[in-house]
């Protein structure tokens, strides 16, 4: 019997646009982009120049602070552009993909016969390492530190998020192999979090891990919430985290002896037409997915990821590194809501609080979903209301006080209040419910990056 953990605080946002569980097709991308922005805090250095030929698995970038940490090309092809922004900041490396992908072969690897160190250097060399993240700071795991424990997220609770069951069950063998390799990376424990609704045999019967079962109330699917409720991170400790769907990619590579960065992604959102699951390569342009597959005639917001933590992209945007989901919602900037703050908002306005009747409406019709757009629905203010964040923050942390100390960048206070345990995504619901419309995830991300600079 797995350990049961019940999360009481949280919110499942009733948003329209869920993807049915069936594969619709494959997204062909002629160009692939590698964006250092996907890895907060990374100072990327180039390993290629325009005109170079690369294979899938050829290093394209490396980390300035750790030259053993590579970022590889997901496809074979030719480097056609290296785009830079302000202050010559590297924005992306664009690769024109070949018709048929050719991959660097590193030889099949059976994790049971390898040591932890061997697995680590294999993952670093093949560009698979960045799938492993760490707390504190919510960055790519520092391979030079040994983690206290490793936490695997085996379910997702974010709005419209893809079913981890569905993705893992397509390749259970890859998941098992990936897990076998991961377990060797630590002398501590490996925890696998699943939800009470998890059915996948591969997840439920996973070996050499401690399984913890959560109720699927968002943000229970966030690894930070899981860690805080299983064994919290204290100052000075490091834990590594990975999602089960990323473990599948690692396992797949070990089984085949070459990397294959194809993901099974969910295409969701109220403005997506053929919703469902697609296969797509990480970094691949999504132009062909969006082409005649979105609602016409209004401004749209394309998101790689979910509506809470995803990255805003455009109709030629790419699938970002950690995302298994693409969402399309209305932008909403063409709407003019006349004295909207005073209207009853019976049918079209959702609030987690009670100042709009959406909660009451849900009592009568619990399956009612709302069509959200990207508007802030109010002006930015100082923090006025209290106990808003707390209601959606199921960690033993005082969120408002932590946010305030992070704004003030009072390091001692941030440490005392638990900054090492959190990631921006843990504050996504706080940001959603916030009456004052503050950019809390941005505040936390900037605080974490600044803190890492001070501490390391």
């Amino acid at each position: 019997m797995p350990k049961q953990i019940k999360i009481k605080k949280g919110l499942n946002i009733p948003i329209e646009g869920e993807a049915p569980e069936n594969i619709v097709g494959h997204i062909k991308s002629s160009t692939v982009r590698i964006c250092p922005e996907d890895f907060p805090g990374l100072i990327a250095k180039l390993k290629v120049k325009v005109g170079d030929k690369v294979k899938a698995g050829t290093p394209v970038l490396y980390d300035k602070n750790n030259e053993a940490l590579f970022f590889v090309s997901p496809v074979s092809g030719e480097v056609t552009a290296i785009n830079r922004g302000e202050k010559r900041k590297l924005l992306d490396v664009t690769i024109q993909a070949d018709k048929n992908t050719e991959a660097e072969n590193f030889g099949k690897a059976d994790p049971s016969g390898l040591s932890g160190e061997e697995i680590k250097s294999l993952l670093l060399n093949t560009g698979l390492w960045p799938f492993i993240k760490q707390r504190p700071y919510d960055t790519i795991a520092n391979p030079e530190k040994s983690p206290r424990d490793i936490f695997i997220t085996g379910f997702s609770t974010a709005p419209l998020s893809p079913s981890v069951d569905f993705i893992v069950d397509r390749e259970p063998e890859s998941f098992r192999t990936g897990l076998e390799a991961l377990v060797k990376l630590t002398t501590g424990k490996v925890y696998l979090s699943i939800s009470t609704e998890t059915k996948s045999e591969a997840l439920r019967n996973a070996k050499n891990v401690e399984i913890c079962e959560f109720n699927p109330l968002h943000p229970a699917g966030n690894t930070g919430v899981q860690i805080n409720n299983i064994v919290p991170v204290n100052k000075g400790e490091t834990v590594w985290t990975i999602s089960a769907v990323d473990l599948v990619i690692i396992g797949r590579a070990l089984l085949k002896g070459e990397i294959n960065f194809t993901r099974c992604i969910a295409y969701t959102g109220s403005e997506a037409v053929k919703k469902g699951y697609y296969t797509a390569v990480i970094g691949g342009e999504l132009t062909s997915l969006f082409d005649s597959n979105v609602t016409k005639g209004k401004n749209l917001r394309y998101i790689s990821g979910n509506v809470l933590t995803g990255t805003k992209i455009d109709e030629n945007g790419i699938l970002r590194f950690y995302d298994s989901q693409v969402t399309v919602i209305p932008e909403g900037n063409d709407k003019h809501d006349f004295i909207g703050w005073a209207t009853p908002g019976l049918n079209n306005k959702y609030s987690a609080g009670c100042t709009y009747p959406s909660k009451l409406m849900q009592m009568f019709n619990s399956s009612k979903k709302y069509r959200f757009d990207a508007r802030l629905l109010g002006g930015r203010r100082a923090i006025i209301m209290s106990n808003e964040y707390e209601k959606v923050f199921p960690m033993d942390i005082l969120p408002e006080q932590l946010v305030k100390s992070t704004i003030a960048f009072n390091i001692e206070r941030m440490e005392e209040l638990g900054i090492y345990e959190v990631a921006p995504e843990d504050f996504a619901l706080c940001e959603f419910v916030d009456t004052s419309k503050l950019e809390i995830q941005k505040i936390i991300r900037e605080g974490l990056l600044k803190l890492r600079k001070e501490m390391e």
């Binding site: 809501d337 757009d373 629905l377």
Partner: protein, 405 residues
């Protein structure tokens, strides 16, 4: 409505933008525009969708909750007036008299407060914030009906500038702005804020409801005394206080609950205030924890004093205490101000309880300040951060303990 928005954007907005003729009134235009239309700016970072509630919504709920007490207050002002001049109060006449008496106060309070807010928003280049929408309606409700308008204007200006804007505006203030207004009036013009002359208007409102005037003084009936029940404590003799209305008839608990008694405009009817409390609590705008604990603190203290009962004021029962004066009004609408109250959930219990305790202690032991509520809340406003500090320390200690295990 789209055409109205288009008209505004095309023909009017440019004048208020940088380089336009009315550039200096940009903050005013912006306030009107966002009042009329929910701004359609979309998220730039972080979450892509947002909850529908914003601070305008929250503030308008508070105003909605204040309406029953405000309407009752208007009626009561007229009712007390007609009683005092010896006429039989008629419902509509009383209401219209009260309306005419209070409307100017509301207008002055809003005009002065919002005027200052708009100027400051323009200078600082930010949006006009909604905080004053609530403050502006609270001020007329916590002062005696006969407070001169210039005093209201002066006190409001003082409070908005020195209690709010110098700290950074809505959300940054330490003290409740409306209460600072009242405190300013109370200490600057005590003769207009206490005693038995100020609570009932015996003169007319814009020529409406004239009394018999002799030598320029409106005549009241013989038995009349305009002291509020709490004001009667000081003059009480014997072992107990018997409260009576303006005509000298004793007041029952029911009379105090309904609130046809003299007092500040909005505070007299506990019934109307409880309707407001119900709105605030069910819609989740005010903390029931604060409200509950103020009542608990006040009633327990009163009960304790009852058992000791050395001076007459100590014999006032817990129910009388919470039904009289500004106790209920302060509890529901001012102690719950999220900005100046304790912000942690545990802190709210302590914060509320101490307000209740202090209010009763001030009322009983310092008859010079019959209204203890105002001072108790302002005092606890100052201590709310200390309460929060200890609650936060608790969380920190727990975390440290966990780490050293």
């Amino acid at each position: 409505m789209k055409s109205l928005k288009n008209q505004l954007d095309k023909n009017i907005k440019p004048h208020f933008e940088k380089g336009g003729k009315l550039e200096k009134l940009h903050a005013l235009y912006d306030a009107v525009d966002t009042f009329l239309f929910v701004p359609n700016s979309t998220s730039k970072s972080g979450v892509h969708i947002h909850d529908a509630r914003d601070s305008k919504r929250t503030m308008s709920i508070v105003i909605l909750a204040l309406i029953p007490a405000l309407l009752f207050g208007m009626y009561n002002v007229g009712y007390q007036h007609y009683l005092s001049i010896g006429a039989t109060p008629v419902f509509w006449e009383s209401f219209v008299f009260g309306l005419l008496a209070i409307l100017p106060v509301i207008i002055v309070s809003y005009a002065v407060g919002l005027g200052i807010e708009i100027v400051i928003a323009q200078v600082k280049g930010h949006e006009v914030q909604e905080g004053f929408l609530v403050t502006g309606i609270l001020i007329p409700m916590i002062v005696p009906v006969d407070t001169p308008l210039w005093m209201i204007a002066l006190a409001t200006a003082f409070a908005v500038v020195f209690a709010k804007e110098v700290f950074g505006g809505t959300g940054y203030n330490v003290f409740n702005v409306a209460l600072v207004t009242r405190a300013f009036l109370f200490f600057a013009y005590p003769s207009k804020m206490s005693g038995d002359q100020v609570w009932v208007r015996s003169g007319n409102s814009f020529g409406f409801g004239d009394a018999t005037v002799v030598d320029g003084v409106a005549q009241t009936v013989d038995a009349y005394s305009g002291a509020t029940p709490l004001g009667q404590i000081e003059s009480a003799t014997g072992n107990s206080v018997v409260f009576h209305d303006t005509m000298g008839n004793p007041l029952s608990l029911w009379d105090m609950f309904v609130g046809l008694i003299p007092g500040s405009v909005g505070e007299t009817s506990t019934l109307a205030i409880l309707i407001g409390a119900l709105i605030l609590i069910t819609l989740g705008v005010a903390s029931w924890k604060t409200i509950f604990s103020v009542f608990a603190g006040g009633m327990l203290t009163a009960l304790l004093l009852n058992t000791l009962s050395v001076i007459p004021a100590m014999s006032i029962s817990p129910l009388q205490h919470v039904l009289l004066g500004g106790f209920a009004f302060g509890t529901v609408f001012m102690a719950t101000d999220p900005v100046t109250s304790a912000r942690t959930e545990k802190g709210k219990w302590i914060y509320g309880f101490l307000i209740g305790v202090l209010t009763i202690l001030i009322r009983v032991f310092n008859p010079g300040f019959p209204e203890g509520m105002m001072l108790a809340i302002l005092f606890m406003n100052a201590f709310a951060p200390v309460i929060d500090y200890f609650i936060v320390e608790q969380n920190i200690k727990k975390r440290l303990k966990r780490a050293s295990k």
